[in-house]
Symmetry: D2
Subunit: 312 residues, 4 copies
């Protein structure tokens, strides 16, 4: 994580300030506000602002239910109920804003979540910093043989060394040519007065996809949990999952009850198809059900049994 | 504006609380937080929460522009620039949440703005309050003869009196039958133990469209300004415009610089079509341009001249 | 279902036309294009246009998977895979447009699905037709005692008769006063030349919520299935569910493979929470698990066992 | 534009097919359906499907206006009216779907338009093709001195030659190392049986941002026009503008009346701020107004006079 002195002192100043507010506050999240949490080799994520807390979810739900919820339930109970029954609108009433620094290929996955607001560093307007993601040796995974979009074993020996060398070398070379084309360095110092320098919006195309970019990213709590359920999942690519995992901790500090409900009903849940549910019903009734009798494809059947710890 | 004792004491408690926060604060908006502002005969609007201030817009823009904006401009200047050039994303980085009470026919217009979050009081779940909108005599306008969706002169005398009487009578009757169908009053007291009472989700269909409903409504600053530009406009129906006008004041307290820029570049601005711009260019060059020569329709031409204070 | 002669002959003309197109076609849906299907007492739904078919979903998925899907799977198999793994973007590549006529209180639920496009009949601009929804006697359900937003037994005898009488009477009276206020009937004939007539945008507030409105409604296939999974569900209010059920048949005609996958993986599926999945694993392993040991609330536990046909 | 033999014969087959449909058809657009239009050195854009035509916009508007529009206006007149008054919903009732191939840095700008549906080629799943964008010599522009995100003069001589050489060399080297890391070529042939090959999701990070990607992109007519108004504008980067210009022609074939209205009221229009409108009013009234008297900033004032062809 590489922050300039300037950035660090700005963060310190923000963290030192404090004002009185009548708004809902999340005390645990306040403690880490603005603070950068390192992710990957040069990335970070920090919470810039938030709106609402667990009680704000409850308050929004009570508007909908009117007099009906007066006596009924505790806050935690109501939050569980809402998540369990997919009553999503009260969770849309809270909002969180992050500052994230990540490699461009990660940003390209991330931006596919459209229900969020984004201000990204503009390489048309400014010069990109010289920072690239180079995987740690333990992350240099081979292509999975069984899953086209997955990873297999970690590469070893010469093959690993060569991959690392190429990644480093190519990123360096491309960046150094980027500066030459611009006729400027990252601090906007002109390199050679006799040349003009290529337009920034053009020169950027020479950078590699592991170059770091950064953005402000704001999202409501409902869509944030949807993002986390996809990106903190074991099928997500490691390089975005590590961001999601840090954000999962931030969710816990922001909204302890909602975090519990989310862990219980989303993250740890299991979805059965119609045929799958039928097989489980028959098994619980004492029947033995073979793959053929299940009506499911062999793969689906196998995956379901694995999920339910049933040996075949 | 009819708030129950319970609601009033809840509001008082919220307004009395205060916490320390490291977040951006908008001091003028803090002063009116939670406070209900009356609109129409029984409606209100109050700010429940907000995220960000003028500086947060600037901060988000500076992420995009990177090093490029270091020296350039004052905050107010940058906000003007952003609004003038329709750089909308920094304005999406702020958020505001309202509690609004309004007649159902107003809510039906309002909900057409889709980029917002809503929790509405549920008439499937709870019993609606006995509150209807009855226009003030000065608002009992006749149908406009020139504009199918506009108002003409205010009705007078008997016609006005009869309209008011019908509105009151029908709302009362429908509500009283609603209670009879439910076999319950607004406080959920059973009326007659020998009857079952119709399901709430059905009984509600007997209410008139001037019955009051309420909701929490949350929106980002960019979409909020879009809402205001349409609904605080003179072509908007009076009954929604009065809400927008109160919110315009709230915007001013929340974001003084953004409010100024919005007044200057959106609210007070004039849009010329390609042909209209051409006519203005010729006129400024000293030419006289007739309606025929303008290439515009007679109506468009007339409207443009009126906007530009040119007499024909 | 009340269509004017004019509308019926327009529909006939549209159904008689045919053009050659190079676009993907859905032959079964073509057969019912423009045709109104009656719903409730005066409502209808008809398909006005569509884009794509099952093959278009597959084609979009193959762009994403590139060379990888060449050999792999049949179209039906790929569609199953996509739905099972919640790969939603290929389903967003198809679109359908409906013309729907429904009571206003149904329209108010429907519009909460924001990811759709809507053009509704404007009561600011035009005079509403004299058509109200009056439930069939078999739908006059009492309020459920166990579920605040549900229905219990059907009302009988005098209570039922009185409810029906009130619904009819109030709708009639309110509409007749609406005409009086407007000083015009539904065909825009002036009633009394000596009066001005109240503005349409005001008079409409006197109508009851069972008055019929209509709109064009366009949605992509992914969001359409989300709508159907909520509104064709047994917890949805009967008056919107009957529309969803007709649309479910239309989906079947439009996209036979997608419809099958949707029935298998969404409609008929079962979701287990983390604790629920744990209980099922233990039961399948031969353990007896009591409610207390499950860690679930008594209600959740009971509901899960009922879903899985396990008697307690 | 590089299409494989396989793709070309698929396109030919699609263009040869034709079915009867009852749906609205756009005859001029049918003629170019599926046909790839070359953009930049290896890119293309082609229309894959569409829903609706000019008449469908009108039809949706007439639902809203009900009886009110019976006599009023021709289709073209109504479309002009709708665009002029920013009645956007009828334009949302039409939809178009494209297949686009473009450099990744262009795709990154493009994806910021969130109200669209996207299926992009997945570099996690498949191997990217060896195709990079190298600007034509006439597009090798220097950085603008006055506009941080603009272009100045075209680079000449040695500087131009060196830039081109670097762009070509770096893209080639990075791609060749990409293949080495993968231990596979673009056709998925293994290069060296003794090695495993890095996971695709990792190897892709070594590619440069001028590598071509492709996607299906679907959008409604309203948001399509918004995209065009920003991206066919002279301030847009050349490399995305050339795509927008081809799409502008496609819009003309699809929707001749809407295209005319769009040219008149959006593309060619001029927006005046409140102060700007005031200055124009005074000038048309015969006053001379200096920059100081205008209340505008010097830059705004200068820009406005230039737009209105007024010499200072």
């Amino acid at each position: 994580m590489d922050l300039t002195k300037e950035q660090l002192s700005e963060i310190e100043a923000l963290r030192a300030q404090s004002s009185l507010t009548k708004r809902a506050c999340a005390p645990q999240l306040e403690e880490i506000l603005y603070e950068p949490f390192p992710v990957l080799d040069h990335g970070f994520i920090r919470v810039i602002d938030y709106m609402g807390d667990d009680a704000a979810v409850v308050q929004a739900a009570r508007v909908s239910y009117g007099k009906g919820t007066k006596k009924v339930q505790s806050d935690a109970g109501l939050i569980n109920y809402l998540l369990r029954h997919r009553h999503t609108t009260p969770f849309e009433m809270c909002e969180i804003k992050f500052h994230v620094k990540m490699p461009i290929f990660v940003a390209r996955q991330w931006i596919r979540h459209r229900t969020a607001n984004v201000n990204e560093y503009s390489a048309r307007y400014s010069i990109m910093d010289k920072e690239f993601y180079i995987p740690a040796p333990g992350q240099l995974a081979a292509q999975s043989q069984s899953n086209r979009q997955g990873r297999g074993d970690v590469l070893q020996g010469d093959e690993a060394a060569e991959v690392l060398a190429m990644l480093k070398q190519d990123a360096e070379t491309c960046y150094s040519h980027y500066e030459q084309m611009l006729n400027a360095d990252a601090d906007e110092n002109v390199l050679d007065d006799s040349r003009e320098g290529l337009a920034r919006e053009l020169a950027r195309m020479n950078l590699t996809l592991n170059t770091y970019t950064q953005w402000y990213w704001k999202i409501d709590l409902h869509n944030f949990m949807h993002f986390l359920s996809l990106r903190a999942d074991s099928h997500a690519q490691y390089e975005i999952r590590v961001y999601a995992e840090v954000m999962l901790d931030m969710l816990k500090k922001w909204m302890p009850h909602t975090y519990e409900a989310f862990s219980q009903y989303r993250i740890g849940g299991v979805h059965l198809s119609a045929k799958g549910a039928d097989v489980v019903r028959r098994m619980l009734g004492g029947e033995k059900v073979t793959a053929e009798e299940s009506g499911m494809s062999a793969r689906e059947y196998r995956e379901m049994l694995a999920t339910l710890n049933v040996s075949t």
